[in-house]
Structures are given as structure tokens and as C-alpha cells.
Symmetry: C2
Subunit: 368 residues, 2 copies
DNA sequence: TTGAAAGCGCTAACAT
DNA sequence: ATGTTAGCGCTTTCAA
């Protein structure tokens, strides 16, 4: 007499109970507690329509068998949220993304929501596939750090029941909220500081300019030069996807120029690392600066100025915006049944947040 | 004449179509394609029982409306997998965990499965809650990096339909597969190298010894001392959760002892960072060594030996083991209907993999 | 080759 | 306060 729950020996259509025990269902609990499934449902959801006696009885049974309601069956019936959101990003191994994800997850948890993380390895094909997959999984929303400037495949998201928030890059060709960083201002300030310190030839290890961050950070570099009335030598400017190996090679090349730069700016954290390796290898006194914080930069024992911003906060804010969107665009149809275009819930346009950056200097002294 | 799909104006019980468009359902597609939902279902799953004509017609309609089947409705009906697994870990911001997660996600993707990441912040209470949540979300399996040695709350997982794999720490008090690192051997080798180099007083910034990794790494430290016939000075041994701030303070304290250690071993990556800061601050020539790789260690400009292992591979292997478990413990009842205990699929015991470690020396020279 | 019926686990709407 | 019925989106089974 195995008294295990989950075998649903409670009159089930398919033959009598020789299958392996799956998870217990609400009916199992109901049978064990001697009540109807509805009472179990009500008790679990805190519905007032159950007597204290019944509720206690049900909860005890639930505890005994370690029953957990099937969130998706519930969602299917109610049309409510699944309490899962998705985060689509390039590569979790980059400390910036990891920190970003931490912020997202914390806010999600505050909203009783879990996080599905999907890496694209910055490949558009992967991103497309991931997006499709996402929709099958009924997520409540998506936070995306786009891999490319092509966002056409993202138009299928963004329904009121599944809003999208763009992080680090604004949407291109569609309406959606975004939380980005002051890429332009940060780079302008950094580059301006180097120019003020007397540097006249500043190498730029840039990100692909087809991408928002790449183009903005380049604009900042160019604007600073313009302010100082200095013409940019195109040969000092390079662009790439942004990995450290490439940055190291490219920096090496710059340093071997007949007229090498006296300073180099790397447009992201990984490239800063690569550039530092190259400079060490070359043994030059080239001044290094970069975009993105590096939390062990103080240990590099080198003069290094970084444009920093709070990646955790960027993630947290993105998640907050996502939940705000869900809240405000909630489907609501008034009694009369006609689609009111005037007095409905405030149609809030997409949010477009910009986080400030801060220059931080590590090492012997600030770069001036 | 809005010809939008998703409003299910296809004879639906609740009044005729004034609700906002949700996602299109299979019935919507069926209606648009002029076939029954079953034909859509068959066409989408590649079931042979549909004519080419019908299939083409259906797939075209599906494409037109960007329809994606509801994975969870499917799962509910078939009892099949949800194609989502969960990864429960301490804190994604630690590069080790991030790299680990990357490995897990890659293998999961190879199995058409997505990853839900849940951070516990190394808190048992959080871990418990996360585990419960997990079960509601019908994940196909769980990879867990336990926050504490208390695994009692994990017994509810581990059914054949939702196996668990323990990573970095073997299960305590339950049967489950695990993929861990040779903590003992790695630390023994590292410590032995320092002892061979002549160090007689080696500080240990240890992890909490109640935890597997903490205790194993300590054992390695002790074993190396025993091998060299050197008695350990207990005052050089400390233990903690393993953050860099604490390690920095504690290292500072060790260095200020009347008889300070000539070398310090940090039991994880974050503590290595903290210890280095303290040594730099103190200006001593204390030799530093640590457990876990640090990918920018070459930039620290210090003699540093690390016990390394491939975190990505650790994650990948954990995921592989998870999928193996699912495969082999798949519910299978033969035609005759009797539970065969002898000729069924091989009842594979839990896997218990141990990944090797490798000593890597950064900086001027190896520590000997 | 196609469709109709039933039901996965759950809950809204209606009984009682 | 409790139970019954029906159906969320899908697929298995069975009938045509």
C-alpha cells in the first residue's frame, strides 16, 4: 500500500495507476484532504471563500506532500503573467554584462519574477532564434542588449503583454523603451581631459560604428577634438567588435607607427585590457584610458582613467522600466465595450532613460 | 476590416471579439488557413499525416502571422519537457560563476534548452525559496551550486523528470550527481610548491570550513604541511565566506603579526584580489598564491601562482550530466505493463565527476 | 489525409 | 462555504 501522492489513483481516465509517480496535482491534494480541487485552489491563493478549517486542512496536506502548483497551468487558465522575464545579451562572461544581469535579477526578484538569460554571442542569427524561442516560452517581458543595429526581428515582441526594454542601445525602427548610458558625454569628457593634458595624438580602439555605442563613443571622441580645435588623424582610429586580443594587436600596431599616439582610448573594458597588455609589451609610456569600469584596475599599477557607470543600476533600471510598462499598458476594456481613445489609462510613451557616467582615475595620478 | 489575428473571432465563447489582440493561437491560424487546428498541429511538428498542400498552406499562414506555439500548453498536454533548466548559484557577479553559467548555457542550447538563472546570494533562505519557485516553473532539471552544506530542502527535487546536478560541492544526505573540482589536490600541490620553495609560515585565507570547498581546500593545505613535516601555526589560518574586503583586512592583520607569514594563500578569486591589495598596501614582499583563475592576473605585475580549472568546462560538464540523467532515467513502461526491474534501461547510479586543476604562474617567475 | 472529442492542471463563473 | 462545469492552447486518440 504505497501511500504516495502523484500517482493520481483518484479515478483517472487512463488505466489504473501503473505509471511512475509524476508531480502531485491539485486533484491529488484535494483527494488526500477530502475536499474538492476548488477548495485547494482557493486555499492556496488566499481566496476568502474557504473556512479556516478547510484552509488549514488543505495547507497541511500541501505541506505534507510538498505540493507546488503548476504556474504554467495557472497562467494558461488565467491569462496572467508567467512571472518569468527574459534577458537577451551578448556574452555573460563579460563582467559588465554579468553585473548588468545581477541588477536585472534583483529587481525581477522584487517583483516575484524569475530571469531567463539568453546569450547571443553577439550574433544576429542567434539573436533571432533566441527571440523566437522566447515567445514560445510566454515570458512576461524582455530586456535586450541588441547585438546589432538591425532590430527588425524585434518588432514581433513589444505587445502590451510582453513589453521590451532596450538596454545600452535605443531601438532602431520601432517604438520601445530604452535605458542607455551617456556614451557620448562620457567619451567627450574623457577625451577632453587627455587633450587638456596636452595629448595631440590619441589613438582610438573603437567599437563597430554601425552600433549605437560604437558610434556614440566615436562622436564623443570627435567632439572633444573639435572643441580643442584639433584635427583627428584617421590613422589613429580603428574599429572592431571589441575583444581584448584584437585590441592588443591593434594597439601594438599603433605604437609601432612612425608617429605613434601619446595616448590610447579603448572603447570598452575588454579592449582596455588588451591595450594595456600591448603597451606593457611595447614598453612605451603611452597613456591609457578606457570606457567601462574594471574593478581590479587599481591593481594594474598604471595610470588609467576610465569612464564608469553603474552596470548593476543600468540593469536594475531596465527591469524597473519593464515592469512599469507592463503595469501601464495593461489590457483594460471598459464596460461599454468601445475602444476609448481619449479617457483610457494614460498612454505613456516609451521611456528613454540615460544614465550618467563618471570619470575615475586609477594609478599614480589622474591623466592631466 | 482589421484583419489581425489573435482576436480569435473564430467562434469563441466569450462575446464577439472586442478584446485587445493577445497572441494568436493555433485556432486562429487554423481558421486563417482554412483547416482544423489538428492540421496546424501536425504541420508544425512535422507529423507525416498531412498532405504537402496543407502543410505548405499552414506554414505560410504561420509565417504571415508570426505564430509561435505555446510551449507550456504543449508541455501540459504531452507531459514532455519544458526545455528550460534552472541554474541556482550564489552570485553571478563573481567571474567564476559567470564563466560557469556560460558553459551551462552553451550545452543547454545544444539541447534546445533555455536557462533560468537564480542567484541566492549565498543565503540559505533565498536558496530554499528559489527551489520552491523552480518547481512551480516546471523546469526539466536543476544545476545547483549549493550555498550551504545543508541540502535537506533539495530532496524534493531530483525526481526522474527533474534531475539535479550538484556543482562544485557533492550532495549531502541525498543521492544526486555531482561535478566538482579537485579542491584537495589543487591546494595540496600549490601549498607544496610554496613549502618546497622554503616557505615555513604560510597564511591561509580560507573559505568557511563547513562548506565542502572550504574544507577540502583546507585539507590540501594541511596535507602539504604534513608531507613536509611542518606543523601548521593555527594563527595563520582564517576562514570566512570569501569576499575581497574581508580578505584584505585579514591579510593586513596577518602581515602585522610579530611573526608574519612569508606567503599567503587565498582560497578563492575574490580573496586573492583582497590579499593583493593588502600586500601592496603593507609594502611587504609577501608571496601570494590563490585558488581560482583570474584572467587579468598577468596585469598585476606581481609574482602570483594560481590553482586554475576551466570554469566554463565545469559548467558544460554539469549540464551534460544533467541531460544524461534525464535521458537514462526517462520513464519507460514496456507493453506488457509490468514494471520490469531487471531488463529495463540501465539504472545508472549518480555521476560523480572531478575536474583536475592546473597550477599557473603569473608574473616574474613561478613561486619556487 | 483530415477532423472531432477529450483532457493535461488549473481557475472564473456559476450553481448549490 | 463548497462543489460543478467549462475551457485556457495544445496534442493524443479515435473516427471518418
Amino acid at each position: 500500500m504505497t501511500d504516495s501522492v502523484g500517482s493520481s489513483d483518484v479515478r483517472k481516465k487512463n488505466s489504473g495507476g501503473d505509471h511512475v509517480a509524476g508531480r502531485p496535482t491539485m486533484r491529488d491534494i484535494a483527494a488526500r484532504a477530502g475536499v474538492s480541487p476548488m477548495s485547494v485552489s482557493r486555499a492556496l491563493r488566499g481566496d476568502p471563500g474557504v473556512s479556516e478549517t478547510t484552509r488549514a486542512q488543505v495547507l497541511a496536506t500541501v505541506k505534507t506532500y510538498g505540493y507546488q502548483p503548476n504556474e504554467f497551468a495557472r497562467q494558461l487558465r488565467t491569462g496572467g503573467p508567467t512571472h518569468v522575464i527574459a534577458l537577451v545579451l551578448g556574452h555573460l562572461a563579460n563582467p559588465f554584462y554579468a553585473q548588468f544581469a545581477v541588477g536585472v535579477e534583483r529587481v525581477a526578484a522584487e517583483h516575484g519574477t524569475r530571469l531567463m538569460i539568453m546569450s547571443t554571442n553577439n550574433d544576429l542569427g542567434n539573436e533571432r532564434q533566441v527571440i523566437n524561442d522566447l515567445r514560445s516560452h510566454q515570458v512576461d517581458g524582455v530586456i535586450i542588449v541588441p547585438a546589432t543595429p538591425d532590430h527588425r526581428h524585434l518588432t514581433e515582441l513589444g505587445s502590451p503583454s510582453c513589453p521590451v526594454v532596450f538596454a545600452t542601445t535605443p531601438p532602431n525602427g520601432l517604438e520601445a523603451s530604452s535605458v542607455i548610458v551617456d556614451d557620448f558625454g562620457g567619451m567627450q569628457e574623457l577625451c577632453g581631459q587627455l587633450l587638456s593634458a596636452g595629448h595631440r595624438r590619441i589613438g582610438l580602439l573603437g567599437l563597430n560604428r554601425a552600433m549605437w555605442t560604437g558610434s556614440e563613443r566615436f562622436r564623443g571622441y570627435a567632439a572633444a577634438h573639435a572643441e580643442h580645435g584639433i584635427r583627428v588623424d584617421e590613422r589613429l582610429i580603428t574599429e572592431h567588435a571589441g575583444d581584448s586580443g584584437w585590441a592588443q594587436r591593434e594597439t601594438g600596431r599603433l605604437l609601432r607607427l612612425a608617429d605613434p599616439p601619446s595616448a590610447v582610448i579603448a572603447a570598452n573594458n575588454l579592449m582596455t585590457i588588451g591595450a594595456l597588455r600591448a603597451i606593457r609589451q611595447a614598453g612605451t609610456t603611452t597613456v591609457l584610458a578606457g570606457f567601462d569600469d574594471i574593478d581590479v584596475a587599481d591593481l594594474f599599477q598604471v595610470q588609467l582613467t576610465l569612464v564608469t557607470f553603474n552596470a548593476d543600476q543600468l540593469g536594475a533600471r531596465s527591469a524597473e522600466v519593464l515592469f512599469e510598462q507592463r503595469g501601464h499598458t495593461a489590457v483594460r476594456v471598459d464596460q461599454s465595450g468601445d475602444a476609448d481613445q481619449t479617457n483610457g489609462p494614460q498612454v505613456r510613451g516609451p521611456v528613454r532613460d540615460v544614465l550618467p557616467t563618471k570619470l575615475v582615475s586609477y594609478g599614480d595620478s589622474p591623466a592631466h
